[in-house]
Symmetry: C2
């Protein structure tokens, strides 16, 4: 039978393109739809006060009846972190992921009282998942910086789509998480129509270093250290935590794990068999004081210099249990995520000031990235040999660099697509192209509020961060609007008021001058908005002239 | 004649130790005192709204009668930027510096109306300066990222002190600024008692790359580019600007310089003969439109992703004269200063999105640091062979790394000192030690205000940056304090009010509840402070419960 317009598979990313974080891809075919990943993004320094960012799922909600399943590549926040915020808005469908990933998802859902309702299905490497009539998927193990990471091969009516998830190629992984070269290569042999692949490190030449190097470095630091060892790393890097535990155990050191997220990870990973801790090795922080220094290891959160983290509080001398001192070796087994460099450097310098020896990744190999470098990416391309290629999981510059690699390895230039969040791509065996652009925004989460913060609120925060607030209160008679008494002025974050009483008095004079312009010193209701605007603008100008600063000026008319 | 306590030379840094920036060192001997450098520091991301930071010069003012001179090593902001803020508070003394440095200082002082009074003395390489009865200094040329950089050899009654200033060793400098190896080596030969040396890159192994490499890379990009070239670099890197001009001229491209600081530097450097621009090469931005793309070069500010800079505005598509488009090559000939990484990455990604080809230092050698790496620093130590050594110009971690290098090269462990800002070091030919700790703080400059911002103001700005402000106004009767009418509430940066009217109403109820606790709804003068505090605290707690946010809560009692 001849079909004029054969139905095409459609993919729409709602996050993960153009910025690292918030990974989420929607796959559709006729009346079937599923999602891969549902991640969050951490705010950058222009997102004043925002805790985290999740994708806008309007696109999914508009077609929610088609939703069949959610697949998760691995358990990092940028792949699972949005789940607790979106599951409540979606019907219950199976969530497929590896055992560790499911453990981490379960903790989140429990905190948000969503666990009961969720259908979490653990899948094993190579397992085939029947998603719907026309979609199935198979999971292949890849290396990354957390165990239990999958590349998904999606079987669709158009052909096979490979969705790599985050990965690196580690030829000597120091755990049992080997990359499934045979499985992935067999996909290429069968024919991969389209591949989406991780672009994070596409600018970095060479092969990514193996995690085994980190294991060896940590081992040798433990062999040589004479005092306490304090080590911070990513809580989710279970493999690295395992090495730290082994290195400590070998030197007969006890270990204390300090920090909520780290304890969570250690508990889950131990429970699920990913982490093996010898008996009598873990001790409570309180027990450290009775041990000699060379029998102490502290694993702590704070490898990114986060302000409330354990390591930062130690560096600032305000941690209740641990005071850093000369003789301590502090290892920061991580590299700063872009944007965190200054915070990490601040922590390092403070630790030095306390007399500690500090080891970080500029000095020794105490960190290896979980994302493949150029040669890793080329190897993946060589294994998959996709006809079409779309770089994902990266900023613009990373995806452009990855596109160049794909062309160099095996993909025809016209078959490499650069897309953006919200671009719907349609695919059959001959064509892969962007067909439409949908809503794909960011939803800001601040405290308990999801999506109640917008541009105006952020702009106000920015303005107040820069020059504070200047507040004018004027009392007027209810009814006639006649100004009563003197205006009041208070400020916050603008100037040190004790030294600025003169300015305060001058400002009040200026305000009175503006009031005096009103007929009979009366602000009638019709004039109120205009008056307030003029007052704000003129006082702002006056303050800028006097101080060179532009605080947010607020004016309240109090009717009495 | 036998002296029991021979007078010692005393040095007190007021900045430059423990953080990069704000370099300033005070040298004293009996009734004589002089300063080397008077720099500013740029604020980090915790310094909300602060424009710049200068050293607290209380120490100098307390002994101001002894002041004989100011020596400046080179013309970067972290070495000259505090001059306009401190000269007004000091008597007029000679300021010694190279020709270019003096040109840059003059521009600053003119802006601040201080030029008339200043005594600027241009010194030449190897020139000997008689500072006072007991102090003299000789200037030796070193390599850095701006021409006219000096190492000062200070002749003191205790012996020779070498003060390197910022430097690298460039064996193939692409300009006439050769490092004076013979002169510096002869100091070592005569005997250097103490050296202060630049620690910025003490963590980086190897030799720093030569600026010639950058020259060659830029040349080859110009040879191959077909469209417009837009290049951003540090305005002060006159040598690099010269290469850009030469490369453009060779390809018969016209050049437009856009950005105030860059134009300033180009003008001064041209005037003083440091920059040579062929006639008819510079054009106004307006003239670019009539030129073919391959005849256009734009040199712009913004290599650090600064928000108001020319390159950032181009990337955001809001620059009035230049719209970036496909075919353009944008070169960012700089590396991000720690803390600026995210801003620079944002700009790069936006430029990519506009279709430009972007070249930055991760992809090609379009930047070389002006600060020596480990081998440069060891070479300097080998030339100077100082008896005592104090690492300077660095964060704690850089200075510690530099101390290790000094021990490895030639200085006895006990003769290497780590000091902090405000530490006074005393020196004679046998002893070099910290003798006291003085005030050495930071003075924050915000707009026109110098030193009127303190911790409280910054904390308020931070709090408002995080969760905005929530403002309560209550009218009370003058005299008896009886509450009149309903409280008013307004917010900024807290929540999107249109969607939060329910919360607003609930808050007002909560405020009324708190008022109702007061006897007869009256807040008498004695109770006022307590009432306001309780109101602020309880409303803050209420808002946190409802929203998970902690805005700054302000309460005004308006007496009418």
């Amino acid at each position: 039978m001849y079909q004029v317009n054969p139905p095409r598979v459609r993919m729409t990313p709602l996050g993960g393109f153009g910025a690292i974080g918030m990974n989420m891809m929607v796959y559709e075919y006729q009346d079937e739809m599923f999602i891969i990943d549902a991640g969050l993004m951490f705010p950058d320094d222009e997102m004043y006060g925002i805790d985290l960012i999740i994708p806008d799922i309007t696109y999914i909600k508009e077609r929610v009846k088609k939703l069949k399943a959610i697949l998760i590549t691995h358990g990092h926040e940028d792949h699972i972190g949005a789940l607790p915020y979106i599951l409540g808005e979606l019907p219950t469908v199976p969530i497929y992921a590896s055992k560790l990933t499911q453990g981490l998802i379960a903790v989140k859902l429990k905190e948000h009282h969503l666990l009961e309702k969720a259908q979490l299905r653990v899948i094993k490497p190579r397992e085939m998942i029947k998603i719907s009539e026309n979609f199935s998927a198979q999971a292949f193990q890849v290396n990354h910086s957390i165990p239990g990471c999958f590349l998904f091969a999606i079987k669709t009516p158009a052909g096979i789509i490979a969705h790599t998830g985050d990965f690196k190629v580690d030829l000597t992984p120091p755990d049992e998480n080997k990359m499934d070269f045979a499985g992935i290569a067999s996909l290429g042999e069968k024919g991969v129509l389209l591949a989406f692949s991780d672009s994070t490190n596409a600018e970095i030449p060479g092969f990514s270093p193996s995690e085994s190097i980190v294991k060896n470095t940590i081992g040798s630091i433990f062999e040589n250290a004479k005092g306490r060892i304090i080590i911070a790393t990513f809580a989710s890097n279970v493999t690295r935590v395992q090495h730290i535990i082994q290195a400590a155990y070998k030197q007969r050191r006890k270990i204390s794990v300090i920090g909520r997220s780290l304890s969570n990870y250690v508990n889950i990973a131990t429970e699920l068999g990913y982490l093996k801790i010898p008996p009598n090795t873990l001790v409570k922080p309180q027990a450290l004081n009775s041990l000699p220094d060379d029998k102490i290891t502290i694993i702590a959160t704070g490898s990114q210099g986060e302000s409330r983290s354990v390591l930062t509080r130690m560096a600032e001398g305000v941690h209740p249990q641990v005071k850093v001192r000369a003789g301590d070796t502090v290892i920061i087994a991580a590299s700063p995520i872009p944007g965190n460099e200054s915070s990490v450097h601040r922590v390092i310098n403070k630790l030095y000031s306390l007399g500690a020896k500090v080891v970080h990744n500029r000095l020794m190999d105490v960190h290896a990235s979980g994302h493949g470098y150029q040669e890793d990416l080329k190897l993946m391309l060589s294994l998959l040999q996709p006809k079409f290629f779309i770089p994902c999981h990266g900023e613009q510059k990373h995806m452009i660099a990855h596109a160049e690699l794909a062309k160099a390895v095996c993909v025809q230039e016209k078959n490499v697509l650069m897309i953006e969040n919200g671009n719907s791509v349609e695919l059959d065996d001959k064509v892969c192209k962007v067909v439409s652009k949908s809503v794909a925004g960011k939803v800001l989460v601040d405290g308990l509020g999801v999506g109640d913060i917008g541009t105006v609120v952020l702009q106000d925060r920015k303005a107040m961060a820069t020059a504070g607030a200047f507040l004018i209160v004027i009392a007027v008679e209810k009814g006639n609007g006649k100004v009563v008494g003197d205006p009041q002025v208070i400020t916050r974050g603008f100037i040190f008021m004790k030294e600025a009483e003169g300015l305060l008095d001058e400002s009040k004079k200026e305000i009175k001058r503006i009031i005096a312009r009103e007929k009979e010193g009366t602000i009638d209701a019709a004039r109120e908005k205009d008056f307030q605007r003029a007052l704000r603008e003129e006082v702002a100008e006056f303050l800028y002239e006097k101080t060179g600063r532009r605080p947010v000026v607020l004016a309240v008319l109090m009717r009495v």
